[in-house]
Assembly symmetry: C2
Homo-oligomer: 336 residues x 2
Amino acid sequence: MGFSGDNLKGFILALLSSGFIGASFIIKKKGLRRAAAASGVRAGVGGYSYLLEPLWWLGMITMIVGEVANFVAYAFAPAVLVTPLGALSIIVSAVLAHFILNEKLHQLGILGCVMCIAGSIIIVIHAPQEQPISSVQEIWSMATQPAFLLYVGSVIVLIFILVFYFAPQCGHTNVLVFTGICSLMGSLSVMSVKALGTSLKLTFEGKNQLIFPETWFFMFVVATCVITQMNYLNKALDTFNTAIVSPIYYVLFTSLTILASVIMFKDWEGQSAGNIVSEICAFIVVLSGTILLHSTKDFEKSPSFRGNYTPLSPTLSTRLCSGNGDLLQHEEQEEP
Amino acid sequence: MGFSGDNLKGFILALLSSGFIGASFIIKKKGLRRAAAASGVRAGVGGYSYLLEPLWWLGMITMIVGEVANFVAYAFAPAVLVTPLGALSIIVSAVLAHFILNEKLHQLGILGCVMCIAGSIIIVIHAPQEQPISSVQEIWSMATQPAFLLYVGSVIVLIFILVFYFAPQCGHTNVLVFTGICSLMGSLSVMSVKALGTSLKLTFEGKNQLIFPETWFFMFVVATCVITQMNYLNKALDTFNTAIVSPIYYVLFTSLTILASVIMFKDWEGQSAGNIVSEICAFIVVLSGTILLHSTKDFEKSPSFRGNYTPLSPTLSTRLCSGNGDLLQHEEQEEP
């Protein structure tokens, strides 16, 4: 229930991250539109003129800044706090789209925003405090505790089953296969990002952690997880509509990340039952708000901005990769 | 944050009340349908055959039982806890309508239900404990404290302005006039119902409160407030569609009741800021869920059950009166 200085830093960074990421989609979209207007060839039909458009690059930089802020936020505050706040980027992009791109937000979409905000406030109030970590070896001992190893083991087994059994069989008909792989992988990504972020934070504070092999191991895990996640997210986005992939991915990813964080960092240890139940309920509220915002965006179809609510893929590379892909994909869909 | 025995009793009574009231609408509706099928004359076009239908009377009794449970709940738990839980009756009637009357619930309506439940859980967890009251004079001193007298004074002035200035001018064009009068009056109704309920509870416990003039005064206030509220609720329902009146009324009524309770019973005194903010956010979530459930019920119009979400008028007589009126009105609307 307390709100430590580190939690506050993490909270502000998560808010900034959502602001930047939400804004980046609008800026990129404006860049794509301007490039299409200038060259007459749209990105969806093979044009690359957007690469000459400064606005598109500004959007890209905004997104990277947002992702870095998100990465650093994980070093300060528990994942139980940072991850659900990612939903706020959807609100930022919805509100900016409403005012800057003249995309009318459906009334129920506004309700969805209100719910995301109310749920986020409750999550922030009930966020657990983390034990201060003094070295990467401490994280290593958390990561190698039996309960978390069991989680990692189950995740890897599930991923293998999904990749080698279900993906060839029904990967292209069932949306849960590819998004499931991404989300399972994503929960490991966030945990390793958190471990790496914390060791880098300690290094910047003067306690060099780069001398420990554990730091490099976490770096390797981050790279592996993020690349796998990116690969399967692209497969999911190639196969299914973003409007279907995004909310499912957000729900699965956020739930699994919270589960992983609760196991590894024991976020809920020492918290009252009331606190934990409040957090879970608030998380459900944020998810519901997100789903509402997603499902109502098609109620009033607007000509050229169906892809503006896509900032749901929550790690750097996946978003760098999918963000652009989404927009291209959507541009394509809009051609009648 | 604690959950006393009295709070638990009040909570269970409020749940039972919502269950009974939610079910009563379905039973009454089934009775009306059966009566219409038997006599060939519908209630909306002047038939009174439903008065011979036992099912309709069963629905009426269920509703009275629910209202009594609601009344008693106020004697045990704070209004901040009991009032928002009234939203659960909407869920009960929506779910029962789905299964018994084969009214398909829209997917977003289900989301609305989920939100109402999540919000209610958070409200219940954070509900304040009430100081035990030992006599009606204690309530009297709460009701005559300057802050609450100021609230009552402002409410009465506002009601007079609405009744004598706005009602003749724009009562039939602006939905906020009649619903505003009802809601302002309603907040006083609930406070006096709570005072009366508590004194009756004390009387049953052996401490006779009927010897005090304060008890009779509260009884007089209950009667006056409820009759005025009933009168203006009927005006509102006669003038505007129930689908518009109900959610606005619910939002205004519940907000004003909580405000009145917080002033009179000092529900929030001694609570942490985090608790109060959580309660407010959870209340917003329940309101949003209610609005969502209401706005999506027209998405899939079904032939003869548009009035099933009406149990929003929260005190005995208003609901006894409006409940039936609603159904009649809706029956009427359904005639092409």
